[in-house]
Structure formats: structure tokens, C-alpha cells
């Protein structure tokens, strides 16, 4: 339990530090907040995890947790892939636009 608490403290401090340094956009802070909420929820329900896992068809609570976390991880990866693709597209457009503007300026200035 101490290990879990230490992990939580570490991640929270990292998120706050990155946010203060402007290295993490607020959009992704929400994502981490949701993750911590899920973590807190699971921590609060730790005594009922076995029952919940069995009701979901898992023999062990650890199996259910693993499946849940892997699914969350995949969802995050998909979300990030979409974000990166959008940024890549915008970047391409910016590169082309800036090349055309520079060429126009070059023509005007002779």
C-alpha cells in the first residue's frame, strides 16, 4: 500500500511540475486526472475487488485489474496517436504555408 501511495505522490508531483513548466497541456492533465480518479476508486473499493472481478467473469481480482489497465493504456495510445496525427497534418500545412510566404516575400523584395 505504501508503494501505491508513493507512486501516486510521484505521478501527481510530476504532473504538477510539468504543468507549471508549460510542458504538459491542460488537455492531457484531464486525462491523468481521470486515471488518478480510476486509481482512487479502485483503491477505495479494494475490499470488494474480488467480488466485482468475479461478477465480471474473472477468477482473480488481479486479472480484472490487468485487463482494465491494459484497456485504458490502449485507449490512451489511440488518443495520443490521433492527437499526433492531427499535429503532424497541421505542421505539414504550416511548413508549406511558410515556404509560400517566404517565396512571396523574396519575390517582392527582389
Amino acid at each position: 500500500m505504501i508503494l501505491i501511495l508513493l507512486c501516486c505522490a510521484y505521478f501527481t508531483s510530476r504532473i504538477v511540475i510539468n504543468l507549471r513548466r508549460n510542458q504538459l497541456s491542460i488537455k492531457f492533465v484531464y486525462l491523468w486526472l481521470v486515471l488518478s480518479l480510476i486509481g482512487t476508486l479502485l483503491f477505495a473499493l479494494r475490499n470488494h475487488l474480488q467480488t466485482i472481478a468475479q461478477s465480471m467473469g474473472f477468477v482473480l481480482a488481479s486479472n480484472a485489474l490487468l485487463v482494465i489497465f491494459i484497456s485504458i493504456l490502449f485507449a490512451i495510445i489511440l488518443n495520443l496517436s490521433v492527437s499526433i496525427s492531427k499535429i503532424e497534418k497541421k505542421l505539414e500545412e504550416q511548413i508549406i504555408d511558410s515556404a509560400l510566404i517566404r517565396s512571396e516575400l523574396h519575390d517582392k523584395n527582389g
Partner: protein, 250 residues
């Protein structure tokens, strides 16, 4: 005479932009431009400008192109042939060119083939200079040929039209095609040539393929290795199978 009839009923010359996308082509760009500039376009009755889009080269490509007195647009980063062509299409759209000819910097294309492409563009929107419509001298490796065949088949399934040389980079676009493709032209290798046809087909653009003679590269390095060609082909196949929604967004 090839031209456009204006409101007074006079025939005005069409404006053609020859777009040469180039990436690290310092060995060949000079001779390609020299050949283009020396070619006698007088009989064409078309006003011709040449524009080199330097796709973030790290060598002297831009400098050599500047020395030949042609228009040069320099991209800061390497986007791939598609990025350079998209940039050229946007330039052509801004400057109101009637036609845009994509012409390789590596010396594979010949200016003698341009006229028949211009004539063909009179009744279609995109003219593809094909290496395979007639038996020519152009030789392609077995793996590349197989990839081309698979891509052509998939494109036929996706668009209902069989194009023998979907990866040809010798193409002529008219005003309609320029308008539609300027914002939608895919930048990644292979997507730039093949998906463009998919987009064009779904945007109801008319495509025609005519036989042209192509030479082997005069120098420089091919933009993609064989392994990346295989990787890109697989990605392209997935994209075509997924029926990607890449219709015009204009």
C-alpha cells in the same frame, strides 16, 4: 491552338507551371533544368514557367536551381514528394495557372512528351504519363512490378478504374484538379501518387493515361529504399481497403 477563350472571344494562351519537386538532387537537377530550359516550347502556344520545390534538401539543390534562373520554393523540412507537390499545387492555385505538370528532378522524364500531355488535358482533368501502356524501354524490378500490380488492382477495386501506372510521377493537372488537390494532396510516399488518384476519382475528376517514354535515373539516389517501399505499400493497401474518406474537403 491550345488556349482559353476570354469574354471578348479572344483566345488567350494557357499558363503552365512545370513543377519539379527535388530532394538532395544536386547531381542531376542542373542537367534536368538545362534540358527543360533549352527545349523549344514555342510551338506549344502555352506560357510556361518552371518552379523547383526544394523539399528540405541538405545539399546544393536550391542553389543550383537558383543559378538556372527558375522559381525556387524552399521547404524548411523534408515532407516527401507529396509535400513538395502540394506546395506547388498551392502556388499554382495562388498564381492562377491553368495547368500544372509534375516533372521529376532526376532526369527520368523527357520534355518531348509534354506536348501530347497538354493536348490530352483538353478533355480530362488529370493526365498520367504512363510507362506501361505500350511496350517501352522502361525496366522495373520484379518486386516493384508486383507491388505496382497489386496497387493497380486495389485502386481498380476502390475506384472502379484500372490505371496501369498508378505510381507514375509524370502527371499533368488542369485547373479543376489543382483546385481540388491543393489542400488534399497526400504527403507520404506512395500515398502521394496512388491516393491522389483515389481522391480524384471520388471527386469526379476525369483521369487519362497516355504512353510516354521514360529514362532511368540520370543520377542521385531514389527517395525510398526497397524495405520502405514494402512498408509503405502495406500501409497503402490498408488505407485503400479501409476505404479512407479522403474526398475533397474544399
Amino acid at each position: 491552338m491550345i488556349g482559353i477563350e476570354n469574354m471578348q472571344g479572344e483566345i488567350t494562351k494557357m499558363r503552365l507551371l512545370i513543377l519539379v519537386p527535388a530532394y538532395n538532387e544536386e547531381d542531376v537537377i542542373g542537367s534536368t533544368l538545362k534540358e527543360l530550359l533549352a527545349f523549344d516550347f514555342i510551338n506549344f502556344n502555352v506560357e510556361i514557367d518552371i518552379c523547383v520545390v526544394d523539399d528540405g534538401s541538405t545539399d546544393k539543390t536550391s542553389l543550383i536551381a537558383h543559378e538556372h534562373g527558375v522559381k525556387v520554393i524552399q521547404l524548411h523540412s523534408n515532407l516527401g514528394v507529396g509535400g513538395a507537390v502540394r506546395c506547388g499545387l498551392q502556388y499554382a492555385l495562388e498564381k492562377k495557372y491553368d495547368l500544372l505538370l509534375q516533372y521529376d528532378a532526376d532526369g527520368q522524364h523527357s520534355p518531348t512528351e509534354i506536348q501530347k500531355m497538354i493536348i490530352e488535358s483538353g478533355h480530362v482533368d488529370i493526365v498520367i504519363g504512363s510507362r506501361f501502356t505500350e511496350k517501352g524501354e522502361y525496366e522495373m524490378g520484379i518486386l516493384r512490378s508486383m507491388m505496382r500490380l497489386i496497387i493497380a488492382m486495389l485502386l481498380w477495386l476502390a475506384c472502379g478504374r484500372y490505371i496501369k501506372d498508378p505510381t507514375s510521377g509524370f502527371r499533368l493537372y488542369n485547373e479543376n484538379a489543382i483546385k481540388i488537390l491543393a489542400r488534399n494532396y497526400p504527403t507520404r510516399y506512395l500515398e502521394d501518387s496512388v491516393l491522389t488518384l483515389y481522391i480524384a476519382s471520388h471527386s469526379k475528376l476525369r483521369i487519362s493515361e497516355i504512353s510516354v517514354k521514360m529514362r532511368s535515373r540520370l543520377g542521385g539516389q531514389p527517395s525510398q529504399s526497397l524495405s520502405s517501399l514494402v512498408q509503405m505499400s502495406i500501409m497503402l493497401i490498408i488505407t485503400l481497403i479501409a476505404g479512407t474518406n479522403r474526398k475533397s474537403r474544399n
